[in-house]
Subunit: 449 residues, 2 copies
Amino acid sequence: MFTCTLDPHSRTTLCDQLYSALKAEIVRGGLRPGARMPSKRELAAHLHVSTATVEAAYGRLTSEGICESRPRSGVYVCEQVETAQTPHRETVVPIRWDFGTGAADAAHFPYATWARLMREVLSEQSRDLLLSGDPQGSAGLRQEIAGMLHRLHGLDVQPDAIVVGAGTDVLVTVLVALIGRERLFAVEDPGYSRVRRMLVASGARIAPTPLLGGAIDVRALYASGAGAAYVTPSRQFPTGAEMNDAQRAALLRWSRETGAYILEDDFDSEFRFAGVSRPALRAMEGGGRVIYMNTFARTLASGLRMSFMVLPMELIARYRAMHAACSVPGFEQETLCKFIAGSYLERHIARMRVVYRARLQTLTEEAKALGEVAPCSAGLYALLNVAGRVPAQELLPLAAQAGVRLTRLCDYSVMPPDAQSERVVLLGFAGMDEEAIREGLRVLKKAWL
Amino acid sequence: MFTCTLDPHSRTTLCDQLYSALKAEIVRGGLRPGARMPSKRELAAHLHVSTATVEAAYGRLTSEGICESRPRSGVYVCEQVETAQTPHRETVVPIRWDFGTGAADAAHFPYATWARLMREVLSEQSRDLLLSGDPQGSAGLRQEIAGMLHRLHGLDVQPDAIVVGAGTDVLVTVLVALIGRERLFAVEDPGYSRVRRMLVASGARIAPTPLLGGAIDVRALYASGAGAAYVTPSRQFPTGAEMNDAQRAALLRWSRETGAYILEDDFDSEFRFAGVSRPALRAMEGGGRVIYMNTFARTLASGLRMSFMVLPMELIARYRAMHAACSVPGFEQETLCKFIAGSYLERHIARMRVVYRARLQTLTEEAKALGEVAPCSAGLYALLNVAGRVPAQELLPLAAQAGVRLTRLCDYSVMPPDAQSERVVLLGFAGMDEEAIREGLRVLKKAWL
C-alpha cells in the first residue's frame, strides 16, 4: 500500500499534500502507468484521513490527466502519463517497425503536385490570404469539400454547414464548447482513445458505453441520459465492426427522441477494399442532429493539419458567434481547394487504395504465422489474435524490446476489458511498405513464439 | 416585459420551452444585442414559473454564448450574438474604414520573401513535414523563437518550454485544460474580450477583476480566490496603461503566495514608439509560474495562424501527455523558422515600426478635431475621448451608417463601466494607410459633430 507522511499542521491542505505525494510517486514510477490506484476507503484508513480528502486528491490527479476514473472499476494511473522511467525505456530500443494506427503513408504523398499548387497560390499574391478570413474556412474550400462529400460519400451538404479546422483534436474541443459541457458525452468502449482524451481535456463528462453486436449499445445510451454520442459507424474503432442498418436506425431514433447529438467520425472510410459502403448516418432519414467529421490526415498527410465537420445549422450560428478565425492558414486552405478541384485528391485516394490493399494482403498472409487475423474490408489496420503461450501482458514489452510498436485491443477500453481482447493486437499498415511489414512480423514472431 | 406561453403539460420541460422562446426572441431582434435581460425574479413572477426555471434557461443561453452574466449587474444579451437584424444591418452600409484593433497591415507583408522561403521548404521535399511532428512544434522553430525572445524581449527561455499553436484562441483553450477548470480565471475588466470569450467557451469560470491604477487589482485577486490571472502588462488592453514595477512585484507575490498561474499576453509589445520596454513578467524574479504568450498575427499576418506560449516545465509534461500533434502545419512551421533565422522578422518589425509610427502621428493629429487623444507610446491603436453633444450610445450607430467600424472602451467591460468610458473609442491604425485614416476621421467628424 502506498504510504506517505501528511502534516495536519501544515499551511498546505491535507488534500494538496496527498496529491503531491501521489503525483511524485507516479512520476517516480512507484505507481506505474495502467496500475490501479488504492481504493479510496483503504487509502483513507491507512493514512488516517477522510475519504473526502482522498477523493479530492484523486479528482485533481484525474482532472490533470494523470489518473483516470473507470466506472464500476476504480481509479487508474493513465497509460500515457510521463514517468521518470518513460524516456529511459524509450531510449533503450528505438522503434524500427511502427504498426501504430495513426500514420498515413508519406512516401506516396503527391509532393510535386502539392508543391506546384502551393507555388501557384503563392504567386497569385492574394493578400486576402494574410487576413483571418472566414471563421468556417474559405467559401471556395468548403464548396470543394461539399463536392467531394457528394462524390465519395453520397452525402449532400451545404457548404455553409461545413467548418474547417486544424485537426480533429481542435474540432473536438470546438464541438464540446458548441454542444455544451452540461451534456454527457457517450463514447464507444472500446473506442478511439485520442478523441476520448480530447473530450475529457475539453471539460466534457464522458460515459464509456459498451458495444452490443459491434455497435454502441443504444439501450445503454437511453439509460445513461447521454446528450451526445461519439461513434465510428463505418468501421468501429478499434474492433472494426460495421454498424448495420438496424443499429443505425436505433441510434438515430435515440437522437430524435432525446434531442441528443451524434458525432459521426468517418475517418478511414475512404479506404474500403471489399463490399459496399453504407451511406453516412448524416445522410440518413432523421440525421438532422448528426455532426459528420472527417480528416485529411489519412487521405493526404497528418502534418497538413486539416480536418472538417458538418454541423446542424443551429450550431453554425453558435460557432460564428464564438470564433473569429479559422485555425487553418489561408495558404493551406487555398492549396487544398485547388487540390480537390483538380481531382488530385480522388486520384490519390484511388492510388492509395491499391497500395494499401496490397499491404493488407501481405500483412494478412504473413501474420497468420502469429495467430488468427480477422477479415478486414476497410480501414488501415488489421486485428490479430495472437496465438502461443506468451502471456498477454508480455506481448507489448517483448515487441518493444524488439523495436516494434503496436497496441492491444484492450488498451482502448475504459471499462474492464474481457480477457480475450488482451491477446488481440492492432496492426496498422499505413506507415510501412510491404517489405517492412514482412520484416516487422518476422521480428514479432521471434519475440513472441 | 418579455412574454410567452408555456405549456406545463408538454413533454418538453418548462425550462426548455422558456429557453427556446427567449432564444427565438433574441434571434428575431426583440431582445437586442447588449440589452439587459429581465430580472429572474420578475420574469418568473410574470410567467408564473419558478425562479429556478428562469435561472436554468438563462444558464443555457449563457453557456451557449447567447447571453452573458455580469456579476452584480444581471444577464445581458451578448453583443456578438447573430440576430435576424445583423446581416440586414451589415448589408445596408458596407464598412469602408475599419478602425478595428485586430488587424495587421497586409500591404507591407514581405510577400516575396515569405513565398521564396516557402518555395525553398517545398523543394527540400522533406517528407517529415507530412507527419505530425513534435506536439510542441518543431525543435528548429522553437530554437528560433527562443532566440527572438532573447533579442526582442530580453527573455531567456528554453526551447523545450515553448509550445507553438494555431493562434491564440487555440492556445487559450489548450491552457484551460492544462491549468485545470477547477481554477477560477481572473481577467482584467475592461479587458481583451476575445480571450475572455475563449476562456468561457473552454469551460473556465472567470472572475472579471477591476483595474487599480491601470493594472489588475491584486487585492481583488486575493479576495476572489482566483487560481490564474490573464493580464496584458506591457500595455493593458484596452486602456493602454503600462503595469509599473510595484504592480508587477505585487502580482508576482500573489502568484507565489497562492500558487496561481499568470497568463502574460505580450501581443503588440514589439511596436513601441517611445520610452523603454520593461522586461516581461516571465523574465522577473519569481516569474516561475508565469505563462508567456505572444502571436505572429500582428508582427506578420493573422492569416498564418501562428502563436506560441512559454510554459513552466510541469505544464510541458502535462501538455505532451494530452497532445499528440502541434496544430500548425509543418510547411508553415519550417517557413517561419527560416524567416526568423534569416532576420527577416526583425527587419519587418523594424520597418513596420516606422510605418505605424507615421500612422499614429497622422491619426493623433487628425483626431484632435474629434476630441482628446490619449498619448500612445506603444501598440496599434489610440484612444479618443469624443467631444461634442452627440449621445454616447449614438457614437457607434452613426459611425456604422457612415461606413466606419470601431469599438468603445466600455464594450470591453463585463462589470458596469463608468460613464466616462462610453465616450472613449478605440482607433486601430494597423489596417489602414495614412490617407484612409485621414478620410475615415473626416467621415467620423461629419457623422458625429
